[in-house]
Symmetry: C2
Subunit: 454 residues, 2 copies
């Protein structure tokens, strides 16, 4: 029998509030960074040989070709059911529709006459998508990463996923089909920190990529952090942490719906956290009861129970206070089921993705509403963004100044550079203004000074 | 007499090319992370007391009020020259014009009937701007960070800068005036790792901010990295490193201009790197000569000389190869002065800011063209973006699904969740579809089930 103690917000002092909303500490082995650093070094030194070694050691596959050939992809695809195919098609459609609207626009304007400034977007040339394996295939994550990569038109999109069982090539047909829809044909059966190292630095089989996307276990997360810090490694999408949801519900909410939403988060992993904040004691009690009923039917009940052990039920005086609690916690997923959703929405900051109303379960966003399910978590949603099409582009600027332009802004640059004590900065303008001066006086002498093509 | 050896690109093997383009190693003390960690801990434990202690220890100021009061700001402002004021006004205008065009637009659309998805932008509530002190005041950096903060309409914008000399409150009037233009009145005279710690965690005098922007020395950089990793700390703008420029020039370029541009980068610091890539031996030789001539007149010649010690002059067969060299190096600043700038531009990837043509010195972008001078460097421009207005916003998503919407996409969600082995995810949809089913059959029984406000 599950029983989460209900905490009454108004009875807590500042310290108690802080403790109540603190995330569970991550229990990583102390030597995780060194372990991962060792794996990365091995892959940099011996390449594919190291990848095969770790496949045997960690994934218990005897042989790993690393590359999932077209023929093997086709072979797996034949196993896909029509129902699954249709569901992936629908999710692909919605995700593509939402992300298509995010295509960035270049900017080009004159800030002063003769001073042309541009902001340009360049899609990453090559990106690596990490798709976790393990207990279940995650075709939804393929879509969440593959659709924006396809829309950004990255030249090369690489998918890595842990080797299948019993054969390395036994990769779920759902993953391969989702990849196919996204135009991805380069698939490698390698996972863990070794896959991240291969993507960041390259091996004979797997060429280096510019940026790595996707969730993973603590080894993958640590490896992403390490290669992301190295300018010669690869950029990464965002910091990762355990998944979490916070639900704000009042007496108008259905306890069965709320319970189902909390459990759907709790089944992710034992380190998931679920939070229910309500102004109604009755809703809190009834939700607890509904959770106990629904839990009986869940195959992953053991996982969910452990997650619920470190979860919170919080009673607040009103919904406004509930919104404040949510802002303090800064959840990855925020579900609101109240009779004043629209009034609450503008007050809700610090959530990465918000699910509004009784008919919007979190699983809709996980799979098929169209929004991206790669989200900052563990408090990072205060300051980090949910994954968007923009994350597949690098922004850079271009300026083209005409002789007229430098005449206009040059004196100000000289003044500012001089104020900052940077004489050579001022001089780079002075040599040009002097040349222009002479040019206008004796135009024939300075033919060799090039004139801007503008 | 300066003499940089000219490297002939075609004569190098792969390894030689790599070595030639490798950045100089950063010579940080081994115990830098621990030193900085100690400073951060002290600020977290003793707040303002620690800030005053470090002002005395590192900045040699006897007393530090920390807050630069309005009265003291006005007092300093009175010292500003009309010329400086006008120059800052012009820079402010151009930077504001370019960044105004970057205002993000929210997105709202139905991906399927009844499935409403939104991408929203929320400006950071509070941001901290770090303005380095030391040898020269940097009003330009105030504008580069303050203008986008002002445009994003962040509720609270805080400026920190190392204490002045001899009094802590002796802050350059240029900095205060630039801050005033950007609507910033909250200014603290504290610098170094201790300032970053105060911004990230708060003290009695300085309230915590959500995100920290701005360049700094190795202590500041290390402190930013440490607080940026902590979800309870503050986000940071980008990884930092020494400044650098790469110039691509051909025989059409003016050696005097190229030399002035290289020196303006070299004077930044002894760890700056300048690279000249050309298909013309004559241009390389003449630029070297011009650098030697110009160097004689530079007050910061000693710094520039040391920077040039680890710089490169590279001779390529043609401009196309020069573009490839630039792409491999991935410079922070890229200047092109050739007779085919427009043809080269599309081939140039991996530069953070590009300066096109004879009349576009890098110092124009440093101060007044309108583009942002906060740029990824040290190889990070391969994967990171130049600072833009977007960096002052958090992106998040909202979805609102109607009963009709969940009926339409619910079955696909159940199929996908089941394929991924996530029964509770499927169940969160099933309970809703069941309720809707019963509702339509016996509409009177289910009044308490809320209907989406959509």
């Amino acid at each position: 029998m599950l029983e989460v103690r209900i905490s009454v917000w108004a009875e807590l002092d500042e310290d108690g509030k802080k403790r109540l909303l603190a995330r569970p500490k991550l229990k990583n082995a102390d030597d995780l960074p060194e372990q991962v650093c060792g794996i990365i070094k091995a892959v940099r030194n011996t390449g594919d040989k190291a990848l095969r070694f770790y496949s045997q050691k960690f994934d218990a596959v005897d042989s790993n070709e690393l590359v999932l050939s077209d023929a093997l992809q086709q072979q797996q695809l034949a196993k896909l059911t029509a129902e699954c195919k249709a569901a992936i098609d629908l999710a692909y459609h919605n995700i593509r529709t939402f992300h298509s609207a995010q295509l960035p626009k270049d900017i080009k304007l004159e800030t002063s006459p003769g001073v042309l400034c541009e902001l340009k977007h360049a899609a990453f040339d090559s990106v690596g998508l990490y798709i976790p394996g393990g207990s279940a295939p995650l075709p939804s994550t393929v879509l969440m990463l593959g659709v924006p990569a396809q829309l950004a038109n990255c030249r090369r999109v690489v998918l890595v996923t842990p080797p299948g069982q019993p054969k390395a090539s036994d990769i779920a047909p759902e993953i391969i089909y989702a990849a196919q829809l996204c135009g991805i044909s380069e698939i490698y059966t390698v996972g863990g920190a070794q896959a991240i190292a291969a993507l960041a630095y390259g091996t004979d089989s797997i060429a280096k990529v510019d940026k790595i996307f996707g969730p993973g276990n603590r080894y993958v997360t640590e490896a992403k952090q390490q290669v992301g810090k190295d300018p010669l490694g690869a950029a990464i999408d965002m910091p990762a942490g355990p998944s979490e949801v916070l639900v704000i519900a009042d007496e108008a909410a259905s306890p069965a719906f709320v319970a189902a939403d909390l459990l759907s988060q709790a089944e992710h992993g034992v380190d998931s956290q679920v939070m229910l904040v309500s102004n109604s004691q009755e809703l809190l009690d009834n939700t607890m009861q509904a959770m106990n009923e629904q839990l009986l039917k869940l195959p992953r009940a053991m996982i969910a129970k452990k997650a619920i052990d470190h979860s919170r039920f919080i009673l607040t005086a009103d919904l406004e206070t509930a919104a404040k609690v949510s802002n303090l916690y800064a959840p990855e997923h925020l579900i609101i089921q109240t009779n004043q959703d629209q009034q609450l929405l503008p007050k809700l900051t610090n959530a990465a993705s918000i699910f509004v109303g009784a008919w919007t379960p979190e699983s809709a966003g996980d799979y098929a509403s169209g929004t991206n399910h790669v989200l900052p978590t563990y408090g990072y949603s205060r300051t980090h963004s949910s994954l968007s099409l923009l994350d597949f582009y690098r922004r850079y600027t271009v300026q083209t100044i005409s002789s007229q332009g430098i005449k206009a802004i040059g004196p100000a640059i000289i003044t500012l550079a001089s104020a900052e004590g940077l004489t050579a900065h001022a001089n780079a303008v002075k040599v040009r203004l002097t040349a222009l001066d002479k040019q206008s006086k004796h135009s024939s002498e300075f033919k060799q000074v090039p004139v801007s093509s503008k």
